[in-house]
């Protein structure tokens, strides 16, 4: 599916962000990429869609070698790589619907996109996705009117509108509260399961990574120091990735997680049904804090 060989990136400042990385991701595999700040996690996923140009190495997605594509071919390849961002990166002054439809920009021509005359099939698809994440009532709201969790759900819809072959997810929960973080991670992993999509998820929160990913890759100073299932994350592994620290609390099984999840589902359903008035306002405040 995705094949990375000998990937290195040296920035013009001289920092070596990635050092000879080899990585394979299989169909439907949800991979969590963990590691300290500056380990090269963001650089790695941005090399895959070449928002950052790799220095050496090859990246192949479904037999297309992305690293050697010309500009227009790269655009076509980017359509197949849906990206979800830290702090959502929605275009704030555009509406929810426009943000979601911007996932189709690689497929429609300039005039159609400028006049906002997208094909009916795209609009139907956008409606379906927004309904799936519970935001269909808010499609004409401006993106900056939404709460953090709602914005990230719009970000997920935008990425899925691209009909991607793979999701690149960069710190999706970085500015969300613990509960919303879980909801977003669950949404992403559920959608990946529904569509058999593979995903690489950069994430700081080791517990979230353990809860939702099927495979964990630990990055330190641009090299992979761990690659294995979540269950094998032991204190010595985390020490190898992050450095010396008491890891026992991070790794103890969260017994209340299941209760919490049931609760999450209920309140998620409530907050998406009851969008008028105070519930909505409280939701907004929650996202802003």
């Amino acid at each position: 599916m995705l094949k990375i060989r000998g990937l290195s990136k040296r920035y013009r400042t001289g920092d070596l962000a990635l050092d000879n990385v080899d990585l394979d991701v299989a169909q439907g595999e949800v991979l969590a990429l963990i590691g300290p700040s500056g380990a090269g996690k963001s650089t790695l996923i941005r090399c895959i869609n070449r928002l950052v140009e790799p220095t050496v190495g090859t990246i192949t997605l479904n037999a297309v070698e992305i690293t050697s594509l010309s500009r227009s071919a790269l655009r076509r390849a980017r359509r197949k790589l849906g990206m979800i961002f830290q702090e959502y990166a929605l275009v704030e002054r555009l509406s929810v619907m426009e943000n979601v439809l911007s996932g189709r920009l690689g497929y429609v021509g300039f005039w159609r996109s400028t006049m906002r005359k997208f094909p009916q099939s795209d609009i139907d698809n956008a409606f379906r996705l927004l309904a799936r994440v519970g935001l269909d009532q808010l499609m004409d709201k401006r993106a900056d009117e939404l709460s953090g969790g709602q914005r990230q759900r719009v970000g997920v819809c935008r990425a899925l509108m691209q009909e991607p072959d793979m999701l690149l997810v960069d710190e999706p929960t970085a500015s969300l509260d613990p509960k919303t973080s879980r909801q977003i991670m669950r949404l992403i992993t559920e959608l990946c399961a529904e569509r058999g999509l593979p995903a690489i998820i950069n994430i700081h929160d080791v517990q979230l990574a353990r809860m939702f990913a099927s495979r964990i890759v630990g990055l330190r100073l641009g090299t992979i120091v761990y690659d294995g299932p979540p269950a094998e994350l032991a204190p010595d592994v985390l020490t190898r990735i992050y450095g010396e620290e008491d890891w026992t609390a991070t790794l103890t099984k969260d017994t209340e997680a299941d209760d919490d999840e049931a609760d999450d589902h209920r309140s998620a359903a409530r907050s998406t049904q009851n969008l008028d008035g105070r519930q909505f306002d409280r939701d907004r405040m929650a996202g802003l804090t």
Binding site: L51, R75, F85, L90, E92, E98, G103, T114
Partner: protein, 268 residues
């Protein structure tokens, strides 16, 4: 020991210039220069005194303003000025957009960037009057020279501010649109334009306001508009008509000021 003795006292903001001697030298130097500058300004006070009654007569000649005698010329000049303003603002902004895009470092490749920046620097280095004198020589007397003057000035003004605003956009939003596989124009339309639009609308209104005022000024050097009417009124010693023109200009500028403030708040 001495540190311990001074510590429990008060606190003073440390001076910007550390050296006390340099601090005093700068103050004394400034005062001496100012005194010398005032001292060498030649003012012939007796002439000023004699001139005062003439100034009073001049001002009283403005009163009462005469809107009626030259009303058709005033109306014609006013309409010409408004036409010049609208045409120059619209054309100037349309031409400024590509230049502004080219002059934004985060959007344009290096050669285009330097070319557009150079163009902006040149078009901004001449004050409107200088440009107007030049274009009047070039195209002859009349409003066309005025329109060209205002177009060039608008490109310089609007292009520079647009470029600066584009350079200040949130790169994360722009990057996200890039990542969808959007083309360059689509990227500008979705990733950049929404971020700069409110400020650009505000600046367009502000420039409309400036262009109206400038259209009155460029007329004095022969580039048409209400300025030409004003100049004629002065040359004929019709100060009461001139006063009427000045009052109308003030009124229109104030009207534009208020309405543009209102519209800018509305588009935010």
């Amino acid at each position: 020991m001495s540190v311990a003795a001074t510590a429990p006292g008060g606190w003073r903001k440390p001076p910007v210039i550390k050296s006390a001697a340099l601090r005093w030298a700068i103050w004394i130097g400034a005062v001496v220069y100012l005194a010398a500058a005032f001292g060498t300004t030649e003012v012939n006070w007796s002439r000023v005194w004699e001139g005062l009654p003439r100034g009073a007569r001049f001002i009283s000649a403005f009163l009462p303003p005469d809107f009626t005698t030259r009303s058709s010329e005033i109306l014609e000049g006013m309409l010409e000025s408004l036409w010049m303003t609208v045409v120059a603002t619209a054309a100037g902004i349309v031409l400024a957009v590509p230049v502004g895009l080219g002059a934004a470092r985060n959007v344009a490749p290096a050669p285009v960037y330097y070319l557009c920046r150079a163009f902006l620097a040149v078009s901004r280095s001449f004050q409107e009057i200088i440009l107007a004198i030049f274009f009047v020589k070039f195209f002859g007397f009349g409003p066309f020279a005025g329109v060209v003057t205002l177009v060039v000035a608008t490109i310089g003004f609007y292009g520079k501010l647009l470029a600066e605003d584009i350079e200040d956009v949130d790169p994360a939003q722009a990057e996200a649109v890039h990542a969808t596989g959007a083309g360059w124009l689509q990227w500008i339309n979705y990733g950049i334009q929404p971020q700069v639009m409110p400020r650009m609308l505000g600046l367009a209104l502000y420039r409309l306001d400036i262009n109206f005022r400038e259209s009155a000024v460029v007329g004095i050097v022969g580039a048409g508009g209400i300025g030409a009417t004003l100049d004629t009124a002065f040359n004929r010693y019709e100060f009461d008509s001139a006063a009427a023109i000045l009052l109308i200009i003030i009124g229109l500028v104030m009207l534009m000021e208020y309405s543009s403030g209102f519209i800018r708040r509305w588009v935010q």
